[in-house]
């Protein structure tokens, strides 16, 4: 378990992390989301004791990280896969960590095997590694001590689709065995597929925090029809809000389709459409886009790429 209690980090007059409080529970994958520069990495560095907070504190397994007697065996950390000496071989990086933790040498080979660094790859120097290989090595480094807490900053970075799937299954398996997994990512889809809980941060502040199912409960029905006007009239009459999704006209022919995203559950939307006599082509949970919408909406005030005049 990880608990972050009122952590604030200021650099001069700039507040990178502003009174952040959340808990990552055991047996669950907690997704840490936020736009670039929102304070995700700083918060993670505070958790593992690399960055001293201006105020507040973070605890891992009930202790401050610095008080863990042999942290590698309890907490697996991957903050930046490129942050290793470029002149060391992959195997050497793991050997140093294994030696520090007091693990047998065989564990290094096991981990190299697990992350599929094969052939001469473990004997190559990190300077010659691709981003994906570094990432795999970083994951091996984090898993080396078979820790019950994992803290991973953008672990999917640079992995190929097979690698991303593999890592997702690995994190899921860890959490299912009772581990605490905290991972940050800007790949919303990745987080949405694997996370149980979400912590959304923008401009150093937490803007949403809770179970994924609760956070995505609204605005999560996608409906497609060839009679959008009749449907929107009916939805309006029923007092259900909706937004247009996708292009204004889909397909060709006399009656092109439109896709709407509706703030209601599927049953209600189906009933409204039925009463209005509107044939539907599609009625389903708006996966993926739901988190993206929520993310953009929650962090709108702090996004870099929004319109001018956004209030910080």
């Amino acid at each position: 378990m990880i608990s972050v209690a009122g952590v604030t980090k200021q650099y001069g007059s700039f507040t990178a992390v502003d009174d952040v409080t959340f808990t990552a529970a055991a047996g669950r994958v907690t997704g840490f989301l936020g736009p670039n520069g929102a304070g995700k990495s700083t918060t993670m560095r505070v958790i593992v004791g690399l960055t001293p907070p201006t105020s507040g504190a973070a605890y891992v397994l009930g202790r401050r990280f610095v008080d863990l007697p042999n942290p590698g065996l309890e907490v697996g950390v991957l903050l930046d896969a490129s942050a290793q000496h470029a002149g060391r071989t992959g195997r050497e990086v793991l050997t140093l960590a294994a030696q520090t933790m007091g693990l047998p040498r065989a564990r290094v080979e096991e981990m190299l095997d697990l992350v599929s660094l094969t052939g001469d790859e473990p004997s190559r120097r990190l300077g010659d590694y691709s981003l994906g290989m570094r990432q795999r090595l970083g994951i091996a480094h984090a898993l080396l001590g078979d820790p019950e807490v994992l803290i991973l900053d953008e672990p999917a970075n640079g992995l190929d689709p097979a690698g991303i799937r593999w890592m997702r299954d690995l994190l899921r398996g860890h959490a299912d065995r009772g581990a605490t997994v905290l991972l940050s990512s800007h790949l919303l889809h990745e987080i949405e597929v694997v996370a149980d809980d979400l912590v959304v941060i923008g401009h150093g502040r937490i803007v949403a925090n809770g179970a994924k199912t609760d956070l995505l409960a609204t605005a999560n029905i996608q409906v497609r029809t060839r009679y959008p006007d009749r449907l929107t009239d009916a939805l309006g009459t029923a007092g259900v809000s909706y937004t247009a999704a996708g292009p204004a006209r889909e397909g060709t022919g006399a009656r092109p389709c439109r896709t709407l995203r509706v703030d209601a559950d599927a049953e209600l939307v189906g009933r409204i459409a039925h009463q209005a006599g509107v044939p539907l082509i599609e009625l389903r949970d708006a996966d993926g886009a739901g988190l993206e919408d929520m993310f953009l909406e929650l962090t709108a005030a702090t996004q870099r790429d929004t319109r001018q005049g956004a209030i910080s």
């Binding site: 560095r45 007697p69 942050a83 290793q84 065995r177």
Partner: protein
């Protein structure tokens, strides 16, 4: 019931591990000094430098000057370059190469990492002293045999101790500069200025300014260090000067550097 049993089995049992012993940290830090290409070259260069300088003394020094002290003094010069650089890089690498992220998350008590590095550097300095005196002894035997003169053994245990102390102090100057600057090229340049540029300037100053001539031993740490490498015939006053300059040039910067390393952010 089976399901709960399986779940209980799968659930990781939390046991608090034992604290990482300091000996293990020292071992890891020593390994880190030599497991890169530049590290292994630095290690090899200790032996190479000892052999090459010894050979150079045999080849070019006047035969009448062959003595054990000549050989060890000659080897002391490259050692005073190589060993502090090893000490500098052991610290700055954690920042310049960013391996500190891993190092300080595996051992979050940074003071223990620094202590491990310091002990490791001291072990390297001690080993280099042994190499210097062993190769010097061989050089002395070979050199005098080639010259047909009896070998001059002009060093005793106290001289060995002084040499080791001198080397050790240089290593800790490097250590302190590394911890203070935490950037490999910057720290190496700073050490070179300290070791090779500043002494020349101070010597120049003392030749031209009489007031500085008397003050120099109380200011110029490198001057006192070099006296150590030349053999253990320091007077009581010289020992005091060495102690004073050591506090100012080694202990104080080291203290400031360590405090900053303990508090600063590792990025």
């Amino acid at each position: 019931m089976t399901a709960t049993a399986t779940a209980a089995q799968d659930r990781k049992v939390h046991t608090t591990p034992h604290r990482i012993p300091l000996t293990r940290i020292v071992g890891v830090e020593l390994r880190k000094s030599f497991d890169t290409r530049s590290g292994s070259w630095l290690l090899a260069s200790i032996g190479i430098a000892a052999v090459v300088t010894t050979g150079a003394v045999i080849a070019w020094a006047p035969e009448s000057e062959f003595s054990y002290g000549q050989f060890t003094l000659a080897t002391g010069f490259p050692m005073s370059v190589i060993l502090p650089i090893i000490a500098v890089l052991s610290i700055t690498g954690e920042w310049s190469q960013r391996s500190g992220l891993a190092t300080f998350t595996l051992v979050p008590r940074r003071g223990r990492v620094l202590l491990g590095k310091a002990i490791g550097a001291a072990i390297v300095a001690a080993a280099a002293t042994v190499v210097t005196f062993a190769v010097g002894a061989v050089g002395n035997v070979v050199g005098s045999a080639m010259a047909g003169t009896p070998a001059v053994w002009d060093l005793d245990a106290a001289d060995v101790g002084c040499f080791a102390l001198g080397i050790m102090l240089m290593v800790f100057v490097g250590f302190g500069i590394g911890a203070l600057i935490r950037n490999s090229p910057g720290a190496i340049v700073a050490y070179m200025i300290y070791a090779f540029v500043a002494p020349g300037l101070l010597a120049f100053l003392s030749f031209n300014q009489t007031w500085f001539r008397d003050a120099r031993p109380w200011v110029d740490f490198k001057h006192n260090q070099d006296a150590l490498l030349q053999g253990g015939s320091l007077t009581g006053e010289q020992w005091t000067q060495l102690a004073v300059t050591s506090v100012v040039w080694v202990a104080l910067p080291l203290f400031v550097a360590v405090v900053r390393v303990l508090r600063t952010e590792v990025k």
